[in-house]
Symmetry: C2
Subunit: 105 residues, 2 copies
């Protein structure tokens, strides 16, 4: 929710990788565990941290817990970046190009 939580949650490489994986598709805890080289509790702990930071949402289905990335959770980070991007003109142009490309769809 708050910027420090966002930065902290994404600072750990494993946890960031979990988040990135969840941007591709929803996954259960055991499915995630199978893809990483840490234990199931470690994955659950990472998910709890990501969830607390608002970067992930949980969907319960029986004994399964499906997680997916929550894009809004990146808002604090995007806002922060945008603030400090303003003193960085060259970068803006690059972004404009990206957005231009999006318009062409």
């Amino acid at each position: 929710m708050m910027l420090p939580d966002t930065f902290r949650a994404l600072a750990d490489p494993t946890r960031r990788a979990v988040f990135e994986r969840l941007t591709a598709s929803e996954m259960s805890v055991s499915q995630l565990t199978a893809r990483f080289e840490v234990s199931q509790p470690a994955i659950s702990q990472h998910l709890a941290t990501l969830k607390a930071a608002g970067l992930v949402t949980e969907r319960r289905e029986g004994r399964f817990a499906y997680y997916r990335a929550a894009p809004e959770g990146l808002a604090p980070l995007v806002d922060w970046i945008d603030r400090y991007r303003s003193f960085w003109p060259e970068r803006i142009d690059r972004l404009k190009d990206i957005l231009k490309g999006l318009d062409d769809d």
Copy 2:
């Protein structure tokens, strides 16, 4: 330089505040120390970390060391965000508004 370094460097609140301060203006180590509630060595250590991550540059002048924010250092973070912003359409519109505002200058 690399994304993990960028995230790690900015994860600490004090260090992030130092970086933010240096986006406003160049400052010497002692000037920075005066503005924060940690010791001079702590500031020097934070600056070393920021410098290693490419987020800050150093300018030597006699016995003084002046530091300033290096915008290019944010590139890894911006690139990362842009990748995961693509699956997040609503946010794009907000960005467009920001850029539109910049064009009006």
